[in-house]
Point group: C2
């Protein structure tokens, strides 16, 4: 995600610096021209805009360490605060942690929707954000300058900005993204444990697409689920209610009730995503 952003922002920044927990990733980013320079945790405080792209709890840990050790000497001579934007998948916990950052930071939350279920620098591509929604969750302390800069950055990525309250983001993302993941995991596990290995010979494009998210990066998903527990549990309860409706209709062979339920989903889903609805 960070690599894709760096590629897409090429030409929009005077210089692109990078910093990763893994030095091999830093070296590869430099060698492939994704970044211009690898910097230290002190040097990074000379930047104008700081993007945090990592799993949610890694972002929380970074925010905590900046708050607890902001290297005041490095920040003393700054003309203006560092605009800090994150790319984390849940926003409430991150925005709460941002509130505690020193005044030398001008933070706001961000979430580019629709990444890949594969992660890593090798997957980076400049077009990743093109045409997709990029949610911004500003804080009360976020300046107009930081918000304008975030909008400029989103335009450079080719994405569509959507400003939301962090709690609303987390509730909606639970439905649009976290619930689909759990739905896919439960499907794979149900098929996996039914006991007849020949079932995989019958798994075609329908199973493939419905189950795709089960192959998502585990660390990313565990962080999402644990930092958005209440909202995810609400969607699960609601989802189970929808399964109940179908279960009852099927149990009674009630064709009218069954068809009504299937039709509602059909009418909502059929016109969505244009031609992409017909992927084989």
């Amino acid at each position: 995600m960070g690599g894709s952003a760096a590629l897409a922002l090429r030409g929009h920044c005077a210089e692109m610096w990078g910093l990763d927990a893994n030095p091999v990733t830093e070296a590869a980013a430099l060698a492939n021209g994704v970044i211009d320079r690898v910097v230290t945790r002190v040097e990074v405080l000379e930047s104008d805009v700081l993007l945090l792209a990592a799993p949610v709890r890694a972002i929380l840990s970074l925010l905590g360490s900046i708050t607890n050790n902001p290297f005041p000497f490095a920040l003393a001579n700054r003309q203006s605060p560092i605009v800090l934007l994150d790319f984390g998948s849940t926003k409430r916990a991150i925005v709460a942690a941002m509130e505690n950052l020193p005044a030398a930071f001008d933070p706001l939350g961000g979430h580019p929707m629709g990444g890949k279920e594969v992660s890593g620098l090798a997957q980076a591509e400049a077009a990743l954000f093109q045409g997709k929604t990029f949610v911004l969750t500003p804080l009360a302390r976020t300046s107009a300058r930081a918000l304008a800069l975030a909008h400029e950055l989103i335009a450079a990525l080719g994405a569509q900005p959507l400003v939301l309250d962090a709690a609303q983001h987390d509730r909606l993302a639970a439905y649009a993204s976290h619930l689909p993941y759990l739905v896919a995991v439960a499907l794979v596990n149900a098929v996996l444990t039914q006991g007849d290995a020949q079932v995989w010979d019958l798994a075609a494009s329908g199973f493939r697409d419905t189950s795709r998210l089960a192959a998502s990066d585990l660390t990313m998903m565990v962080d999402i689920l644990l930092t958005n527990r209440e909202a995810v549990l609400e969607t699960l309860a609601h989802y189970r209610g929808e399964l109940d409706v179908m279960h009852i209709a099927l149990t009674h062979g009630d064709e009218t009730a069954l068809r009504q339920c299937l039709l509602a989903a059909y009418q909502q889903r059929k016109p969505m995503f244009g031609a992409l609805a017909v992927t084989q």
Copy 2:
């Protein structure tokens, strides 16, 4: 499905005849060279191989009408019985109905896996069956000749044959195909009824793929669910058990239990479908 088969079998048959409930479809199939001739219900009894491609209950109705009115005069002079193969998505009810066909028919069940969720002649393509599994469910009365001919037909379609008992097919298809459909329907309905329309701005490729099957043809799916009720209800119960495991782990914030459950699905799904696992 019938149109795709006709296109794929071009060159493998002396002549391709067609018969549809809708005369507009018959005319279009003829005009587009999908078939060589439109025939009547009596004339069709002069054919060597009869393929029934329709929703399950439409196939059941066709089998019933052949059984009740086999036009004995048309069958009197045949040298060998008509090999009858269907393309229906569930097999137990169809195979049971095939048992009652007159002796002039040599029937067996068939199910090409992995159609499209869109139907109709306009969607026909010769490559539809290429590389996919084609299940055959022979009856006790099916002759060796009919089974060999079905294998020849599957080879001509470019598909992989898999001979299964009808009940086993229906149980496995419930897991691999019917459950994914219900999973997608419940997902769309849960998102649809949660009350905040802004949720659709956050629906990206993950939601798109997980929900794709909810746009499946309704008549086809209602027929599948109602003719495979017991097996589908079994998969639903099992699936809800898998949701329960995640619900409990999340409720208790039990990261170890949660990760174990997600990991099982990840390890099964990640290596499946090769590069197609990474559809954006």
